[in-house]
């Protein structure tokens, strides 16, 4: 198959190439024809001019024009010949097939694209499940609805839409597969008389058909249909749970006589059972039906055991997990129809393993989403508090702000910086104090290898995402490779509040993550020079955790220096200027620190 697709790709490419050549040649040919037309006009003017002139000059002019015309004609003829050749070649192509092939390739590409998109959604959904940051679009939907479950629903809906498109596309591709790769269906096979088929090689008794029960007739008819489909190269029989055979409604439609015959038989069975029920009689066919008999034809998972079967209800009587497992209904008042499933049920079933796969994918995603939702719900169900929770702060008073608009404006202005600092975690100083204490302790205590970095009740530390780790590790590596002898490096101390300059063309970032990762950068609002910037805060990477220090916190500098002295590295800088906080810069984008304040060139 892959080889054939490759072949198609080559064909389509060749076709495209030929088409472009043809168009190019036609264009050039057209321009020569145009030139020739102009020349002919000029020539007629020359002829007109020297019509009655027998001078040498007139003769020369006329000769020159005729020669030029001849040359043009030769060129045109040459192009004409090339064009004809290419047209001939072009006409040898089966354009319809090529167009189909082109569409087929486009469909395959889209199919792959859809698979990617679906995987992407799965990833994003899993991210939510893990509590990781989710995309802004999803949040918008969550905000509009006001419930997190809508995020999951949103994903599921998007996923379902993609799956539906993929399913449709798969059907189209399969059709195209058949059209492009299989031989056309022979008419004769379509016209087999399904009700009175030609006698098989094995000799049957004359009244073979009449002796069959309606159930057995259905089995026979389905077997015939299966045989006919297989003869056409269509293995469209779905083996459900191992043995049971179902045939898609799609194929029944192609054989309406079989379909109507089966429906007729089903009706007959129904009537017979109703009659039997009314008369409290057992179906005359029950005695004849045994599991063994049927296994030679087909096994029906929904089949009841006959009354005279020695096996017990619920006993597993066959490899087929269904047979005998289902509770057996006593056959008082007649047997149940052999087929409990109506033909309509077939329409609800997918007609290929691939389709079922899509359904399964959907189900898995939904199951995952539901599982997560229930887990979260379970986790977050309000606990019955028996004692006051740690860190619980009673609300003593609630009042409206004095000026709502002003407050809103202030919050809006500060939103960027607030968001950036939330990334770091709230109340950074007490946390760092804990760490510093731990470091001090560890320095004094030889047995304690690791500083005790924990989450206090009111302080939350932020795990750096794994990709961030990578970037930081890479940065570390670069530091080792490209930067500084050790002594110089030790001098490059960041002092909170110091002035600094930027490299040309650097970007500013809304948060320190982006700054460290170098993503979603913007041009600095105030340019890269001509404005005095100060360090308003510093993000330090200490053992894979990011800690943020504000310049305006008196404790910050001491704590930051302690982390830096113990292997922490400055990762990002919050810039401050006369207008306030500007945004974050990557530490590598900073050219120099104010020397008079103790900084050094980087």
């Amino acid at each position: 198959m892959q080889e054939k697709i490759e072949e198609i790709k080559v064909n389509v490419e060749q076709y495209k190439l030929l088409l472009s050549k043809k168009e190019e040649l036609e264009k050039e040919y057209g321009s020569w024809v145009e030139l020739y037309g102009e020349l002919t006009k000029e020539l007629s003017k020359v002829r007109e001019l020297y019509k009655n002139d027998n001078s040498e000059q007139a003769k020369l002019a006329l000769d020159a024009s005729l020669k030029e015309e001849k040359e043009y004609l030769e060129i045109i003829n040459e192009y004409g010949a090339r064009l004809k050749a290419i047209n001939d070649e072009f006409n040898t192509y089966d354009h319809e097939t090529l167009e189909n092939q082109r569409q087929y390739l486009a469909n395959i590409t889209r199919f792959k694209e859809l698979s990617k998109l679906m995987k992407e959604i799965e990833k994003r959904s899993k991210k939510i499940a893990n509590g990781a940051k989710i995309g802004t679009n999803c949040i918008k939907i969550a905000n509009a609805e006001g419930r997190d479950k809508n995020i999951h629903e949103y994903f599921a809906e998007e996923y379902r839409a993609l799956a539906a498109e993929k399913r449709e596309l798969a059907k189209t591709i399969r059709k195209q597969d058949r059209m492009l790769f299989t031989e056309p269906v022979k008419k004769e096979e379509e016209t087999i008389d399904v009700i009175n088929p030609p006698k098989p090689e094995v000799e049957y008794e004359e009244d073979y058909w009449e002796k069959l029960s309606p159930e057995e007739k259905i089995v026979e008819l389905e077997k015939r249909l299966e045989r006919m489909l297989q003869a056409r190269g269509k293995k469209r029989i779905i083996h459900y749970k191992g043995e049971s055979i179902r045939i898609s409604e799609h194929y029944y439609k192609q054989y309406p006589r079989i379909r109507s015959e089966i429906n007729k038989l089903k009706k007959e069975i129904e009537e017979r059972d109703n009659l039997a029920k009314d008369a409290n009689l057992t179906s005359p066919y029950v005695e004849e039906m045994t599991v063994t008999d049927l296994s030679s034809g087909r096994k029906n998972p929904f089949m009841d055991l006959p009354l005279n079967d020695p096996r017990q209800v619920g006993e597993i009587v066959d490899d087929n997990p269904f047979v005998g497992v289902a509770p057996v209904t006593p056959l008082t008042g007649g047997s149940k129809p052999m087929y409990d499933i109506s033909l309509d049920d077939f329409t609800k079933k997918e007609d290929s393993a691939e389709d079922r796969q899509f359904e399964l994918e959907n189900e898995e995603l939904l199951a995952m989403v539901n599982r997560h939702a229930s887990e979260v719900k379970k986790e977050e169900e309000p606990e019955v508090a028996t004692e006051k929770q740690k860190g619980f702060l009673k609300v003593l008073n609630i009042r409206k702000p004095k000026s709502l608009e002003k407050l809103k404006e202030k919050i809006k202005k500060a939103a960027c910086v607030i968001a950036a600092t939330v990334v770091v975690g709230v109340m950074a100083t007490p946390l760092v104090t804990t760490i510093v204490e731990s470091i001090n302790k560890s320095n004094n205590d030889a047995d304690l290898d690791e500083p005790n970095i924990g989450v206090s009740d009111t302080v939350v530390e932020e795990d750096i995402k794994s990709d961030l780790d990578v970037v930081i590790q890479e940065d570390d590596q670069q530091d080792v490779d490209t930067e500084t002898p050790q002594e110089e490096k030790e001098e490059a101390v960041f002092k909170l509040g110091d002035a600094f300059a930027l490299k040309e063309g650097v970007k500013i970032y809304n948060n320190m993550y982006d700054a460290i990762l170098g993503r979603n950068g913007l041009s600095p609002y105030f340019g890269t020079d001509g404005i005095e910037r100060q360090i308003g805060g510093v993000a330090v990477n200490y053992e894979g955790q990011l800690y943020f220090f504000y310049a305006n916190d008196p404790q910050s500098e001491e704590n930051m220096n302690m982390l830096l002295a113990n292997g922490g590295k400055v990762a990002s800088v919050l810039a401050m200027n006369e207008h306030g906080y500007e945004g974050f810069y990557n530490v590598n984008d900073i050219v120099s620190l104010s020397k008079d304040l103790g900084g050094v060139s980087r």
């Binding site: 509590g131 802004t136 977050e380 860190g391 939103a415």
Partner: protein, 84 residues
């Protein structure tokens, strides 16, 4: 009933304004920023959960790390949207 932009006086005798509010899995979460008497924003920020104990309404820090991360990310996105 705590609403957006309300000024809350907490047990620690500090005042906070409700910058963002999120209803999530039957819980109410608030993003609070400390304000002074003139309602100027101060540095202290908190992401807290509304808790009712013995009929007393209060707030408490989110102890569960996963829960905190999720709520924090939602708040961050809400803040960025506000900025846009």
């Amino acid at each position: 009933m705590i609403e957006l932009y309300d000024i809350l006086t907490l047990e620690n005798n500090k005042q906070y304004t409700v910058v963002k509010h999120l209803e999530f899995n039957n819980n109410d979460y608030y993003f609070l920023i400390e304000v002074d008497n003139d309602e100027e924003l101060l540095d202290e920020q908190m992401i807290v959960k509304k808790v009712e104990i013995d009929g007393e309404i209060g707030v408490s820090p989110i102890v569960d790390e996963e829960e905190f991360k999720l709520v924090k990310d939602l708040f961050i996105d809400m803040l960025y949207q506000e900025e846009e």
